[in-house]
């Protein structure tokens, strides 16, 4: 038995060494250090950007796809490029976007009093007896944010239509 075992051991060892040698001798695929996954005019979005953004977003929303994240990155880029025209010079991107949205979107939004009132009347139950005067500011902020989002989406669509955007998905698409 002992010799059988020993023979088996020898065979296994020989087999594993063979596998190792074959594996070691087999050519390894070139590793992509980084590459363009999309460009927006003369700004590139890289695989590393996409992976980083995907990791962060996926942790919050597991249903999100890489393609969704890429589209978000493209949207951010078109906004940033337009923002640079109004606020030239290097600066923090988040701050730049905030200033841009305030200037180009929020500045044009006025929520009429009757809309605030109508919202309150429609959703009175949700306010749990809170009088209109106390709920008013909260409703106005909510309606303003909704309008900001709507106008921003339209602004993005307009900027995207004018921009030169190209996406380079891997074969089979982004997973």
């Amino acid at each position: 038995m002992g010799s059988c075992t020993s023979a088996l051991d020898r065979h296994s060892s020989f087999f594993l060494i063979l596998v190792f040698l074959l594996a070691a001798a087999a050519p390894l695929r070139a590793e992509v250090i980084d590459r363009t996954v999309a460009f927006v005019n003369d700004d590139a979005i890289l695989l590393s950007d996409l992976d980083n953004a995907y990791q962060k977003t996926h942790a919050i929303d597991p249903s999100i796809t890489k393609d969704d994240v890429l589209q978000t990155l493209i949207n951010r880029k078109v906004l940033l490029q337009d923002a640079q025209k109004f606020f030239p010079g290097p600066q923090d991107e988040d701050l730049l976007l905030k200033e841009y949205i305030d200037l180009k979107v929020r500045a044009y939004i006025r929520v009429p009093e009757q809309e605030v009132r109508a919202y309150y009347d429609r959703n009175k139950a949700k306010f749990d007896g809170l009088p209109y005067e106390k709920a008013r500011d909260q409703i106005e902020t909510l309606l303003e944010e909704r309008e900001v989002n709507r106008k921003l989406a339209s602004q993005i669509a307009d900027l995207r239509a004018r921009a030169w955007i190209k996406v380079f998905p891997p074969p089979g698409g982004f997973k």
Binding site: S12, L16, E31, V32, D34, A44, L46, D49, P90, W164
Partner: protein
């Protein structure tokens, strides 16, 4: 026992990818697909370098940086585990459109097709825009009268990589033909001539729109203030167009005598508004009032009446201009520490100028601000009080100066990265100084500048004033921003010009503190190259604390053809043709060939300029010259000698400071002097072929404000030419020329210009006399006016000038600007030429005086001078007339 090798093998296999990823120093970088820029530029932008290991974050920044070039479609960087240390960079550039061809356009104008097709030659081929391009063109063709047109676009690869040819196929279909035009509302013959369409034409809506616009303008010119042309309809060949010129406007202006009706009517807003209403009539009257006030008619009265008649509006303006009043006097009672004269300079009103209520409105505020800026913080100014007198308006401002504040001390807070002492020095204000807001504002900017120049981006300086009685302590509170450094330079838009040509002009180096002012200087330097019609520089966020700089250039046309014809009092007809190219091999090298001709000489010059000689910022210039010249006695028109010269000049120039330039040239000339009048021969070298080989160092100082028409500054220079047999010259001499010119603004509109110049030459070795082509001559439009060209100095018994080895020259000019483009010059010139240096005698100078006119043109003033000899010799003319371009000196 069995588990151990299995485990080891598995570990090894699992570790393989990690091993492959291990950062191995780069041994080689392979680049694939690159065409438009050099591999070295791409590697620089990517931040890769041999022998260093890959920093993945820096590389990602690098790829984005390379994309800023605007030429890339795709970049990928990978490494092959089978070849450790070998990095592969795969790029794909944007396709560029070689040409756009239109097929099947028929009689549709090529301009219409080109203008309406959004893909342009030399633009990037954006394949995603093909459908939109076809659609836009189809719409334009449809408007041109071919509603059934079909447009398709095909592309084919060009012969070189990344170049494509675009073919636009147009199937026009059946055109719409105008069979008849019906005009509604006006007689057809009044309208159809403007419409650009006639029966039988293709129904081109673009032409029709232009025609309708012209018709509208025609009606406006006729006085219709709101004509409506259109709408139109087209059906089965019938074009219906509605025209309603609307109502006419008649404007009558009476009572004006000092401002013309034409000028007043230009102020009317009716045509622009397309309406005539009471408020517009009042606006027109107000505009007229303002114009009258500006011209000094402060008491002008304008009444307006708007009357509506059956077919027109009639507006009457009745003007009572009143008298034109000037400011007789300006008084500022109460002003004691600041002279009234100084205060008068600040206000808009000037004594003697026309009185205008609009101009005076803000003067009290201006005076108060001025006082406050000097530290009189409690100053109060009331007025103006205006009294009308027969002499004009007497204007006075009542001033209460109050006490002057002083600086008690200066404190700096918040400084950490720059020593406070250095900041205090930059502030430059100390305890005891008068409090002055302008000085404080300047000091603040100096501190900001200091931080900015050292890369502390977004730093802020606030000045707080702590008052105690009439003293103020100034506290400069500094908020230091983060320090930033220059990153990499990205050069965009240079198609012909090599990137290195731009890079070598840049003043910063990577890693230096970021300074926005340096970018401005660089932009100016790039413009000064003359290669670009547009240069934009911007800083973008780079890796870490670095700002990358992006230089966007648009290349100008490098080639130029110039020609000119003129007339000189000496050469008679003259002209030139010049062909030049300013960017040979994309290296900013300039080459030119120039042909000059006149009745006295023909010259051909082939010139080459290299701005950076052997890689150093030292301009090199070389030129070949061939010249055929006749020297004449101006008075007798007799030929003194003829000359043919072949010459090679080569040398370097170097700007030593902003104002000082040094140069060193080598000259070799083969001069054949023939048909020489025997009496002008001084030496055997004056006749026949002579080789002159010389070096010429020179230095010059130039602080003039404008070299073509200086108003202030100094120009001085010294040059020394040494010809020697050591350089294979057949003649030996040294020749020194020194000159200084100064320009002084006297008071408006006078400029005083002075020049002194001397030349000294001496032969040596076998050479006693300088050959005639190297001797000095004076007289003529640029030296001593009043004497004909080269006629001063030693002469033969027959009166022919023979030149000499020494000269002195002096000029004094008073230049007066009569208008913006016309000038008057009064001058005194003096000078003479002597055969030998030892013969020089200042008592023997010849003097002339005269007058001249200048007319400013973009190439310098056109000049006509007449000089009169003050110590005229027997047989000499009394004076000479001179024409030229540019000032005499």
């Amino acid at each position: 026992m069995t588990r151990r090798p299995v485990f080891l093998a598995l570990c090894f296999l699992l570790a393989l990818p990690a091993l492959a990823r291990a950062e191995i120093p780069i041994k080689r970088i392979d680049v694939e697909g690159l065409r438009s820029i050099k591999k070295s530029e791409l590697i620089y932008l990517l931040c890769l370098s041999n022998a260093a290991s890959i920093d993945r974050v820096k590389l990602s920044y690098g790829i984005k940086r390379a994309f800023k070039k605007g030429i890339f479609d795709y970049i990928e960087v990978d490494q092959d585990p089978n070849q450790p240390g070998v990095i592969r960079v795969v790029v794909r550039e944007h396709d560029v459109i070689d040409e756009v061809r239109f097929k099947g356009g028929g009689d549709i104008s090529g301009k219409l097709l080109r203008n309406n097709f959004i893909l342009k030659p030399e633009g990037f081929m954006r394949y995603g825009l093909i459908d939109q391009a076809a659609r836009t063109l189809k719409e334009a063709v449809s408007r041109a009268g071919y509603p059934d047109a079909k447009v398709s676009v095909s592309t084919e690869k060009g012969k070189t990589p990344y170049r494509v040819k675009v073919t636009v196929h147009i199937d026009r279909g059946k055109p719409l033909i105008v069979k008849h035009i019906t005009v509604i509302g006006r007689p057809a013959d009044e309208v159809t001539g403007y419409l650009r369409l006639s029966p039988g034409d293709v129904f081109n809506q673009s032409d029709l729109a232009r025609g309708m616009e012209e018709l509208g303008n025609h009606y406006r010119k006729k006085g219709y203030y709101d004509p409506i042309v259109g709408p139109y309809a087209f059906s089965a060949g019938e074009l219906y167009i509605k025209v309603d010129p609307g109502r006419k406007l008649f404007v009558k202006i009476s009572g004006n005598s000092n401002i013309s009706r034409k000028k007043l009517k230009k102020l009317l807003p009716f045509m622009e508004a397309g309406d005539v209403r009471d408020d517009l009539v009042e606006e027109a009257a107000q505009r007229m009032r303002t114009l009258y006030h500006e011209q000094g008619y402060a008491g002008v009265q304008i009444a307006s009446v708007l009357k509506t008649e059956p077919d027109a509006e009639v507006v009457n303006f009745y003007i009572n201009e009143g008298r034109r009043v000037a400011v007789a006097s300006v008084h500022m009672p109460g002003a004691s520490t600041v002279p009234e004269k100084k205060l008068e300079e600040i206000i808009a009103l000037e004594k003697g100028s026309v009185y205008s209520p609009e101009r005076i409105a803000d003067d009290a505020g201006r005076i108060k601000s001025f006082y406050q800026s000097l530290g009189y913080l409690d100053a109060a100014v009331s007025g103006p009080e205006v009294v009308s007198t027969p002499k004009g308006m007497e204007v006075s401002f009542q001033i209460k100066e109050g006490s002057r504040y002083h600086v008690a001390g200066v404190r700096v807070e918040g400084a950490g990265r720059i020593p406070a002492g250095e900041i205090t020095n930059a502030i430059g204000i100390k305890a005891g100084d008068p409090y002055n807001d302008v000085d404080i504002a300047n000091a603040r900017y100096r501190v900001l500048d200091m931080y900015s120049a050292r890369g502390f981006y977004n730093s802020a300086v606030d000045v707080r004033r702590e008052f105690s009685g009439s003293n103020a302590t100034l506290v400069f509170k500094i908020t230091e921003g983060p320090q930033r450094f220059f990153g990499k330079s990205i050069i965009v838009g240079n198609k012909k010009t090599k990137t290195g040509v731009i890079e070598r002009e840049l003043e910063h180096r990577e890693g230096q503190p970021f300074n926005q002012k340096v970018l401005m200087t660089e932009m100016q330097k790039l413009y000064e190259l003359g290669l670009f019609s547009e240069v934009n520089v911007e800083a973008v966020k780079g890796y870490g604390a670095h700002f990358d700089t992006v230089y966007r250039v648009r290349e100008a046309k490098a080639g130029a053809v110039e020609f000119g014809l003129g007339y000189g009092e000496f050469e008679k007809e003259r002209g030139f043709v010049s062909l030049s190219y300013g960017n040979l091999f994309g290296e900013d090298r300039k080459g030119s060939v120039r042909f000059e001709f006149s009745s006295l000489e023909d010259r051909e010059i082939l010139q080459y300029d290299e701005p950076w000689f052997l890689g150093y910022n030292v301009p090199f210039r070389a030129f070949l010259l061939r010249e055929d010249r006749e020297e004449k006695n101006i008075d007798t028109d007799e030929i003194l000698y003829k000359l043919r010269r072949y010459s090679v000049n080569a040398g370097v120039e170097k700007k030593l400071t902003d104002r000082v330039k040094g140069e060193f040239y080598y000259e070799f000339s083969l001069v054949n002097t023939y048909n020489v009048k025997p009496d002008v021969v001084l030496t055997r070298e004056d006749v026949g072929t002579l080789a002159i080989s010389a070096v010429r160092p020179a230095i010059e100082y130039d602080s003039r404000d404008n070299p073509f028409d200086p108003k202030k500054g100094v120009f001085a220079g010294v040059s020394f030419k040494l010809a020697s047999s050591a350089f294979l010259s057949e003649t030996n001499f040294g020749k020194l020329i020194a000159q200084v010119s100064t320009y002084h603004r006297l008071f408006k509109p006078f400029v005083l210009a002075l020049r002194a110049e001397t030349g000294l030459a001496q032969g040596y070795g076998q050479t006693n006399e300088l050959p005639i082509v190297e001797r000095f001559f004076l007289g003529g439009r640029n030296t001593v006016r009043g004497y004909a060209q080269d006629t001063l100095g030693p002469k033969t018994p027959a009166g022919d000038p023979i030149g000499g080895n020494a000269f002195l020259l002096g000029n004094v000019e008073v230049r007066t600007a009569l208008t913006k483009s016309l000038g008057l010059v009064n001058f005194v010139d003096m000078g003479n030429v002597w055969l030998k240096i030892g013969d020089m005698n200042p008592g023997d100078l010849r003097y002339t005086t005269g007058i001249g006119f200048r007319y400013q043109t973009p190439v310098g003033p056109i000049r006509v001078d007449y000089g009169i000899k003050l110590n005229r010799q027997p047989g000499e003319s009394s004076g000479e007339l001179h024409f030229s371009i540019g000032q005499a000196f």
